[in-house]
Amino acid sequence: MLTKRIIACLDVTAGRVVKGIKFLNLRDAGDPAELAASHSANGADEVVLLDIAATHENRETLVDTVRRTAKELFIPFTVGGGIRTLQNAREIFDAGADKVSINSAAIADPALITQIANRFGCQAAIVAIDAKRSNQSGKFEVYTHGGRKTTGRDAVEWAKEAEKRGAGEILLTSMDRDGTGKGFDCELTAAVGEAVRIPVIASGGAGGSDHFVEVFGEGHADAALAASIFHFGLSSFSDLKQQLQTAGIPVRYPC
């Protein structure tokens, strides 16, 4: 049976892994290559590396960090942040990434999704959506540039368009929950998951194993991503997977 994936996320800036709350107050969490290797050895199903400063400071993703991290990693590896052109994507793939995640650039130029999908395959094109619940409409609104810019677009509609344009997966982050440890936004995840036929990766808010049970259950997520609970050793992959298995959720365990 196809298992639900647990994805370790490394938010990187200037070659170091950092973690913040609601995209702010960053603190150091270690070396990306070392963390990726240890997460893989401990049972992570996948690693995502996001260059969180890239868009804002108008820098390209640190290709060297990607190369160094990919070198001894033999599980799927996704890289995002600052990928604005097909050429940017090519550099990241050449450095050893299996998939790229595009966010602001996809909103600015949706044709980029199709270009990447045509060239590297749909499975390699992940569209990342940062969404926040609007107090007025109650809908989920898409933000870009690391959560700094609102687009006025509806997250569900945007996910559908991204799928149509060739995205292979949606990486869906709840800005309301990110870094809070209060649990994933299951409502957001389910809303997007029902609207598309491609896998949805839930992100933002993981604080404990119960939250993963919820997001795979009521949130219908195909994968769930978290950062700090893994970096700071609050949760081990094997404990988490054991608990998911007990709750009847198929996971790669033992692995």
């Binding site: 049976m1 199903d45 033999f74 599980i75 395959g121 997966e169 195909d222 692995c255």
Partner: protein
């Protein structure tokens, strides 16, 4: 020397890295001469079946076909395995190598496609050389929308909207639908088995 065939599709870097890790001598090449002289051939590939057209125009198809005739071990990964069949629903006009009859098919509509993630392999042939030392029901990483049905050469099956070929094997011909280069220690073991043939 293992030739990793470069036809401008698929994640060659990952495959190369995996062979480097297990200390197998390999080269990424688009040169038919190098392919023709290799001890073993690996055809990686993620993406569209139509991308295999590039093999014909580059003279690589002939090089691979003639090497296979001379019983040079061949491992096709993902699209590289699908290409061993006659054709694929993904690009009906594109001819596969046709070492086995049949066509690759899309997943049925009742499951999400692509099939992405870790799934288990049922190793149906215990004599498989590719799976030597790999525990039954091991987890491996898949990412694909088309699949090879269960055929005579199937040695491992996976269940997703019905069973399909996770791996095929006959004599010196091998194929995996999953990505051994992305399947952790299980995948590295499988690549080692191929190297040690």
């Amino acid at each position: 020397m293992i030739a990793i065939v470069d036809y401008k599709a698929g994640n060659l870097t990952s495959v190369k890295k995996a062979f480097d890790h297990i200390r197998a001598e390999s080269v990424v090449t688009a040169d038919p001469e190098v392919v023709a002289n290799a001890d073993k051939i690996v055809l990686p590939g993620v993406g569209h079946f139509a991308a295999t057209c590039a093999l014909s125009s580059a003279g690589l198809r002939e090089a691979i076909a003639s090497a296979i005739q001379r019983e040079v071990p061949y491992l096709g990964i993902c699209v590289g395995m699908q290409w061993m069949l006659e054709s694929s629903e993904e690009a009906p006009s594109v001819k596969g190598l046709g070492v086995w009859p049949g066509a690759c098919e899309h997943f049925p509509a009742d499951v999400k496609a692509p099939h992405v993630g870790w799934n288990q392999v049922e190793i149906s042939h215990s004599s498989s050389r590719l799976f030597r030392g790999i525990p039954p029901r091991s987890f491996v990483y898949f990412t694909h929308s088309y699949r090879v049905p269960v055929i005579e050469a199937t040695v491992a099956e996976t269940e997703y909207g019905g069973p399909f070929s996770a791996a095929v094997e006959k004599d010196h011909l091998f194929g995996t639908q999953f990505h051994p280069e992305k399947s952790g220690t299980v995948g590295l073991k499988l690549l080692e088995n191929f190297c040690n043939l």
